[in-house]
Amino acid sequence: MPSNKSVSDAPISQFTNCRILREHTLQREDLWVREGKILDPEKLFFDEQGYADQQVDCEASIIAPGFIDVQINGGYGVDFSQPSEDVTAGVSLVAKKILEHGVTSFCPTLVTSPPAVYHKVLPQIKVHDGGPHGAGFLGFHLEGPFISLEKKGAHPERYLRTFRSGGIEDLMEAYGSLDNVAMVTLAPELPRSQSVVRELCQRGITVSLGHSVANLSQAEDAVQHGASFITHLFNAMLPFHHRDPGIVGLLTSDQIPAGRTVFYGMIADGIHTNPAALRIAHRAHPSGLVLVTDAITAMGLPPGHHTLGQQVIEIQGLHAYVTGTKTLSGSIATMDMCVQHFKQASGCSVEEALEAASLHPAQLLGISHKKGSLDYGADADLVLLDDALNIRATYISGEEVWRKQA
């Protein structure tokens, strides 16, 4: 039928024969998209007397908001923390490949690095939307260097830093620029961290606690100053203890300011966290769970030796170790695998599994009005999945950017 829209002439797509994730349930509804955003079809019908220009038969797929990965160090041979002449090319390659895993927006992560690396890398990429070229760039996740020596994990010890003045100067000296930064992971027990936490939050940067030996009250203090995330829960922090739960205790803390949620990243690859621990966290605080891949350079590559930051790592099956040790150095699981594993290990519903990879990270970053949901007005970043949560197709701004070949 010819179009007849008084508000806009842009073409309207109607996704039919699908179940969409809305209001925390899978509903048998069509999804309407115009100009890259989810459209309210009732308003279209009555206000504009408009209808769809094209219909997309989704073959009974589930439609979920596109996944958002807030912790990914590289992949396909690219290491975001390795200084290179063309950082953009590396980020773009990963951005393009992760579309296959349903990721439509991401935060490339830099592990602890010398100032030279940050100063070189950070200014090279501006926050930008995704598209056929790849997932959208939401900003860098800077994991370090203000972290604990004891819990450095795979981070290089010689580049760890502390806060000298507790102000913006510390950040500028280390990073050079905060313009394209979405998140910073730091250890709150470092002296003078509170003012830094506040400084970052004021700039709209999410502060995450991780690679830390903080006790619960230090962690709660940081939250009160604005911290809202925990980097890969359980890993690189003190274990839960019943008299001092440490950072893990934030999941059930009663010191969280009203109206705020503490989110926590989980690497649900079956390796970084025992499924029982995953279940404990999920049951304690289901609405805060954010799936992250923490994927490293080797994700997508065959087994062998590869570089991560300033160190060398070794792939053995689905495990990635710091060469010569048994310290895990990151995961090579993809986001869709994490969603599937999370659902299977926790026994949660399909809706919860999908929201942990979409709605929750969007809420964490404060962008849930346009990402992470299929509400009217949100960006039409979508994943089409089958009932086993395998990705069939990925869309960004209503445009198909990847489809599984039959």
């Binding site: 079809p41 009732e42 279209l44």
Partner: protein, 274 residues
Amino acid sequence: MRLVILDDYDLASEWAAKYIRNRIVEFKPSADRYFTLGLPTGSTPYGCYQKLIEFYRSGDLSFKYVKTFNMDEYVGLPRAHPESYHSYMWNNFFKHIDIDPANAHILDGNAEDLEAECNAYEQKIAAAGGIKLFVGGIGPDGHIAFNEPGSSLVSRTRVKTLAKDTIVANARFFGNNLSKVPTMSLTVGVGTVMDAKEVMILITGAHKAFALYKAIEEGVNHMWTVSAFQQHPHTIFVCDEDATLELRVKTVKYFKGLMHVHNKLVDPVLSIKD
């Protein structure tokens, strides 16, 4: 009148939907010649709408050249409110079929000038060539659309204040909170529906039985406004067994005996595929 009695709600809904389908298909609507349909809302016609959607999905029926005019809408309820009649029609019918949005007419209960809105609606109906088939329901108080007891039997589209009975009946859609139910509505008049070439009233459920009795076995009375259709040349009442519970056995037997005649109207069921 024809009184078509089916065993249960589902069969009554199916019969009514088939009748509407046959009427549309045999009319052979086209861009020059639209089929005009009057439509109700509420729980009674829900099953009929579901069936019509099925017919559309199977490719046997199209609404491309059908113009619809709903009977009524609440005053002052935001159009996007889940209980508005706009929402009802969108969710239960329009969004599932191929009707052109420009041809789906519903009174605007939020219009600046309600009287002008009502007059304009009458004009739209006239401009469309009048209504071929007006489908309606009946309230427990015997009203058609929101023509509450005491409405003129020659009334036109206008603003009406809802009767207590109606507000109570509708409270279940507003969390059983009487204070949340709208008190006024815009409605087509009894006269407006009487102007239609054909009228089909759907009545199901024991709670409507007394109203049906008043409407067809007692006299024409403005206290039971559906009774006005006793004076319409082509009225069909489609009901289930329960709705006939207050009727005389003689009435029910007579019309049940005519079912073989009535069923010729829906059998064979026509399709646009032919």
